[in-house]
Structures are given as C-alpha cells and as structure tokens.
C-alpha cells in the first residue's frame, strides 16, 4: 500500500454486531479520522462469527487484516493513538493480531462462510474478486441433469434440519414434466440457538442468490422465492439490495450472464410463525394463507408452491451448492464422516465463553466444539446440559460430550443435529422447567391442524406444572407424560408435534433428579 492510499477499515454490519453498538463504532471511527485529517476507507462487512469479540474492527495493511475487539466507541481514539493504521502499530490492549490467525477462526474449515465478514456483502465486484459466481458460470455450461448429478455426488444433505439428500429432491423436480417449476428458499430460521442463515444473508447474500440460480438451472425453474422470517430486518435490507445489485449486473433476470436463460428472485417476509419453517406450512404461507402443515404425499418436489414442482431447501443448503459445482461433488464429499459429508456451520450459543459460528467438516466432538472453540461456560460454573438442534432437539448431559457431530450418531443417541444450533447450560439449569418450556413453545406455535400437537402440547405443559409443583412425590404424572409423548411423537402430522417429545423425554432420561426421581432410577 502506498502512503497515498487511504487505509481500509472494516466494521461489521451484522445484526449481532449492531446489537452491541457496531454502528456507533463506525461513526466514531469516521469522526476521529476526520478530526485527525486522516483519509480512511470504511467498509461495512458481515461478521466473522467470533461474537465474543464483536464489535470487531479490522484494518488492512500490506494485504493482511489485523483485528481489534471487542471495540466500543470509547476505544476508538486510543486505536488512533496507538497508530492502528500504520504498518507497525504500537500495540493496543484489544489487538488480536491477524484476523485469519485468531485460533477459533484458524481451526475452522470455511466453505459456505469463506467470505462472510471478509467482503462487502453488497459489492458484486468484491464477490467476484473472492471467487464468486464461478459455480454459476460453470453450471451455465452444464445440462440440468449434470448439475443434479454433482449435487448427488457431493452427498449434500439438507442443512435446515431434516438432512434429506438435496440431490434426490432436485432429481425428483427435474423429472417432473410441468413447464412451470419453482425454487424456494426456506429462510425462516426459527430454531432458537441458530443464526447461521441470518449471518449468511447479511454477510454474503450473493452466495445464496448464486446457489438458488444454479438450482433453477438444474431443475428447469425460472422463478425463485425466498421466504424470510420477519425477525430479521437487517437480512431483509441486505437481501433486497443484493437482489437489485445482481439484477443490475445481469446475474439475475431474463438473461443470466448473457446465457439466454432466465432466473428471477422474489422475496417474501413472514409474520412471526415458527411453524412456517416447516416446508409445507411455509409453502402455504408463501401462497398467502395460514401457515398450516400439508399432508404428504405429494412431496413439494412433485407438487409444491401453487401446486407446481418445487425445490425447497434451506439457506445453507443452497449456499453450499456454488462450491460443489465449482470444485465438483467429489471434492466436497471428501470432507466429513459416515453419511454426513462436507462441512456444517455450527452455531454455538447459550452459556458459553466464546459463542459464535464454527464451520467445520462433520466429525468434530461436542466436547471439542464447546471447550476448544467455545472455551467452556461463560459463567465459569460446571456445564450441566447441552441442547443440540433447536427447540425440538435433545438435551444431553456432560457425560455425553464425546458425541460426534454426525447426523447418524445424533440419531443413535436419541437426538438430532437439526440446523446445527448448540446451546450450553451450566449447573443452574432446571431441566424440568426446560421440558415444560418445550411443551409451552409447542403450544404457542402449533398450527392447530393435528390434535396430538394442538392439544397434547397444552396438556404436556399442565402435566409438567404438576410435576414441578410436587417434585418430591413423583407419581402418576410422569407415566402420563411418557404416554403423551409417545402419542405426540407417533401421531403428529409434522416435526413440531412429533419432535417436541425429544427435549422433554431426553431431559427426563438424562436428568431424572430434576423431575423428582432418584438420579439413576429413570435410566433405561
């Protein structure tokens, strides 16, 4: 960098960073630079996902990004005082060294999140300079069936929660004769403890656009829809601007990069209903109706949105596709373990010292994730429970932390990986209350179509109230609770009622003492 070039400073505009004052930090940097008559170029990025360091400010010097964090507005003058823009900065107490070498980041294997926190999310040129749209360029030269074949070969499984092989869905839609087909992105990331979709949409929206466009080319759809939850206003703003920018540069529209083939994207915002993360409820909602779950079959790949064949995938699934097409499914499939191939963006939250996004190949253990990446509990108290997979995921005790991040391993252990959310609790947690919360949440969010979910969840919350009231007595309530959970698991129409028993029964199985039973008695 010549001395005439203004220094480049990066401040996140990710909503997590904003919730901690990133806008104030950016304003303070601009004001301080102006006061000192120093020319700076301020770029707003997504977040690297190291949230305990947010707001994290980076400065690019001689091609290297140096990080500082967590920075408050009040720290900004001292950053300038220590010469953080010079080639030889004087050492600030919040200096973190080169961003890429921060241990929690250096140990990750980022494919989907490679650009998040690095690039300007709304600059097509920045996206191109960091390898963007190469998958799309390649896909434009391939027949649809060949694209689908790569996705099948990659063994890419749906990252939304159900882990269904994406290639099979795509293949089914490709085979439908209907001339009108749709590509639908489920961006209704309602699972508590998860935020990877949000980070990606705010930090690298072109990747999602590219992935969906490739899906359109693969199955023969020219219209895509993104169903975004209303709790994500920043993602909405970024996605809206990114779609307009992609259209302006010819990456979306009637003639994608001069290929003569068209793909357009429409964005729809939900209205606060967890159930609309269930794919058929989401389709109903996209059609403007109540978000009521549909009976399957027919599956959406055959008769989905407005009755047309539709590819429905989660944000992270689509965002995994460009790299698969660019480098081949085989390369992607080299990563991972067992039938879980590729990388998974895990989201570490709750009572943990270093919360954030961890993208790694499948196969990491929960212990490595929580201690090596997360640094143990934030409170410093012993870890007692971990919930994996959102509000419908199982609670595991500290003794089960050697469980590997792998769809099949989790299923075998009576849990699920879901959308990759991991919430840590210390020893102050009351698992009977968490079980009650699971039932209450289901009661609040049930669409009401099937009885086990609609009525069962309310009865379950009442039962657990009684259990909590007279913990020492134990008694008939727990047997009733087990029967109720059996009914809900076997008789519900979709995963909401079907999986609510998972957090409840896992809490009862692993933490019987919280339900008034002797510590070992409830173990099978």
């Amino acid at each position: 960098m010549s001395s005439a070039d203004p220094a480049t400073i990066f401040v996140p505009r990710d909503s997590g960073a904003l919730s901690l004052g990133a806008d104030g930090v950016a304003a303070a940097i601009a004001a301080e630079a102006s006061r000192r008559s120093i020319a700076v170029k301020l770029i707003r990025t997504g977040s690297r996902g190291l949230y305990w360091l947010e707001p994290m400010v980076e400065v690019e010097i001689a091609g290297e990004r140096r990080a500082y964090g967590p920075i408050g507005s009040a720290d900004v003058p001292s950053l300038f005082d220590t010469g953080f823009l010079s080639a030889t900065p004087g050492g600030h107490p919040l200096a973190l060294g080169p961003a890429e070498k921060i241990p929690s980041l250096a140990r990750q294997h980022r494919i989907v999140f490679a650009r998040v926190g690095v690039t300007d999310p709304l600059s097509v040129d920045d996206y191109l300079a960091h390898g963007g749209f190469r998958g799309l360029e390649r896909a434009l030269a391939m027949p649809g069936a060949a694209i689908v074949e790569e996705v099948v070969r990659a063994n890419l499984r749906g990252r939304g929660g159900a882990a269904f092989p994406a290639g099979i869905k795509w293949k089914t839609t490709l085979e439908q004769a209907d001339p009108t087909k749709y590509v639908v992105c489920n961006a209704d990331e309602g699972d508590s403890g998860t935020f990877a979709d949000r980070m990606l949409m705010e930090g690298d929206p072109f990747l999602l656009i590219e992935g969906m466009t490739i899906a359109g080319l693969a199955v023969g759809a020219t219209q895509g829809f993104i169903y975004l939850r209303s709790e994500y206003p920043h993602a909405l703003r970024t996605l809206t601007a990114a779609i307009a920018a992609a259209e302006a540069r010819g990456y979306l529209g009637k003639n994608v990069i001069g290929s003569g083939r068209g793909f357009t994207l429409d964005l729809m915002v939900g209205a606060g209903a967890y159930i609309c993360g269930e794919e058929t409820a989401m389709l109903e909602s996209l059609e403007g109706k109540r978000g009521m779950v549909r009976y399957k079959p027919p599956v959406p790949a055959v008769a989905g949105l407005f009755g047309r064949p539709s590819v429905v995938n989660n944000v992270l699934t689509f965002a995994s596709v460009p790299a698969i097409i660019e480098h081949g499914g085989e390369a992607y499939s080299q990563l991972g373990v067992g039938r879980s191939r590729g990388t998974i963006p895990l989201q570490l939250a709750g009572n943990v010292a270093r919360p954030g996004l961890v993208e790694v190949p499948f196969g990491l253990s929960l212990r490595e994730l929580i201690y090596d990446f997360g640094g143990g509990t934030r409170s410093g108290r012993p870890l007692r429970a971990v919930q994996v997979g959102g509000p419908l995921g199982a609670y595991f005790p500290a003794a089960m932390l050697d469980l590997k991040i792998d769809y099949e391993a989790f299923a075998e252990a009576g849990g699920m990986l879901g959308h990759g959310g991991v919430v840590v609790f210390d020893d102050t947690v009351d698992l009977a209350r968490m079980a009650r919360y699971a039932m209450e949440f289901c009661a609040i969010e049930s669409c009401g179509k099937c009885t086990p979910c609609r009525i069962g969840s309310t009865r379950g919350a009442e039962l657990l109230d009684r259990v909590i009231d007279k913990r020492a007595a134990g008694g008939a309530e727990l047997n009733l609770l087990r029967e109720l959970c059996d009914t809900m698991a076997a008789g519900s129409l979709c995963a909401l009622g079907g999986l609510t028993p998972m957090p409840v029964m896992s809490a009862l199985r692993h933490f019987p003492e919280d339900f008034g039973l002797p510590a070992a008695a409830a173990r099978p």
Partner: protein, 198 residues
C-alpha cells in the same frame, strides 16, 4: 365453568341472543358489519382507510397477495385494524372469513393500535441460559405490564419473542426496532432511556 347451553326453543327475542340478533338486518338477513360486532372502537382507534386501500390495490396481483398486504399494513400502520379486513377481502375477492383466518394466525399482526414504545424480549433457550427470566422479571416490573400487554396509557407494550437470531449475544431484546444483545437489567434500563419515544 362452561356457559349454560342454549337449549329449548330459541327465538330471536331470546335474551341470550338478543344482542347479536339486533345487529342482523331483519329484511335481508345480512350479517352485521364488523364495525358493529362489538369490537370496541374508541376515538383513538381510527385508522387510515385510504392507506389500506392503496396497499391492497398495489399488491393484489402479487403471488401470495393476502399475506403481503397484511404484512405491509402492519408495517405501515403499526397494526392490522379489524375493520380493514372486509376491505382487503373485497379487493382480493376473498371471504371475510378467509382474511380473518390469515390475519389471526400470525403472531406479528396486532389487532389493537400499537403502543408508542414496543419492547420485545427473547425467551428462548439460549437467552434463558444467560438470565433471560431474571431480565424478564426486571422488565415486567419496570414497565408494569406482563408479556402480551400494553400499559393503560399506551406508552409501552411488552412482547415475548422466540429467537431473534442473536443467540451468540444472549440475552437479546428489541426496543423500538433496535436489536440489543448481552442485556442485563442495567443495560436494558440504559437502552430504554436512550431509545424511548416520548
């Protein structure tokens, strides 16, 4: 306790159905207008009919038009006034029941005028793991309302929300649209001080 069943021979003069029956047009048997159905409309509950009509007209041909219209009405007006539903139904050629069904299904749609300040607190697991319940107790006593309630002077409304996607910065909340992270009772009070609309 269950209400007494409506048994025996009912007549339109029966005291139990009189209030409703009075509203039914005796000549045409048309149902009463929603405005007349006992949904309280005091003078402060006026709503911008032209704005709703313009929104409905501009979005009526969009795919999934009904939800888009309701969304925009909620965003622009701050609530979905119940008497606006027949107007939307008419524009989309849907029944009032269909429109009511959608408007009442989604948590985001308010059916009473919004408070001047809207506070939302996340009550999901990650936030619970870091003291969301204690924070909720503080906020409830500070504002003097429970979740889903509005203060009688309509200054503050408190809503529960189940995940804001800010789980890495728990506990999380929103004051007047501004997302907040790592909330403590003190941080909440400070934020309230700077974000409150007076």
């Amino acid at each position: 306790m269950r209400p007494a069943p409506l048994d025996g021979n009912l007549s339109m003069d029966d005291a139990r159905i009189k209030p409703l029956a009075r509203l039914i047009n005796r000549r045409t048997h048309a149902w009463p207008a929603v405005e007349d159905c006992g949904i309280a409309m005091d003078s402060s509950e006026t709503w911008d009919k032209d704005a709703v009509a313009a929104i409905a007209e501009s979005l009526k041909d969009a795919p999934g038009a009904l939800l888009r219209i309701l969304r925009r009405v909620q965003d622009d007006l701050g609530w979905v006034p119940p008497p606006a539903l027949p107007l939307i139904a008419h524009t989309l050629n849907l029944s009032r029941a269909e429109v009511h069904g959608v408007a009442s299904f989604y948590h985001d749609f308010r059916h009473t005028p919004p408070a001047r300040n809207v506070i939302r607190l996340c009550r999901a697991e990650s936030c619970q793991a870091l003291g969301a319940e204690a924070l909720a107790r503080h906020v409830r006593s500070r504002l003097g309302v429970g979740f889903g309630e509005t203060t009688s002077d309509r200054e503050f409304a408190l809503d529960a929300v189940y995940c804001l996607g800010n789980c890495a910065c728990s506990p999380a909340g929103v004051i007047n649209g501004q997302l907040l992270g790592r909330l403590t009772p003190k941080a909440f009070d400070d934020a309230l001080e700077s974000l409150v609309r007076r």
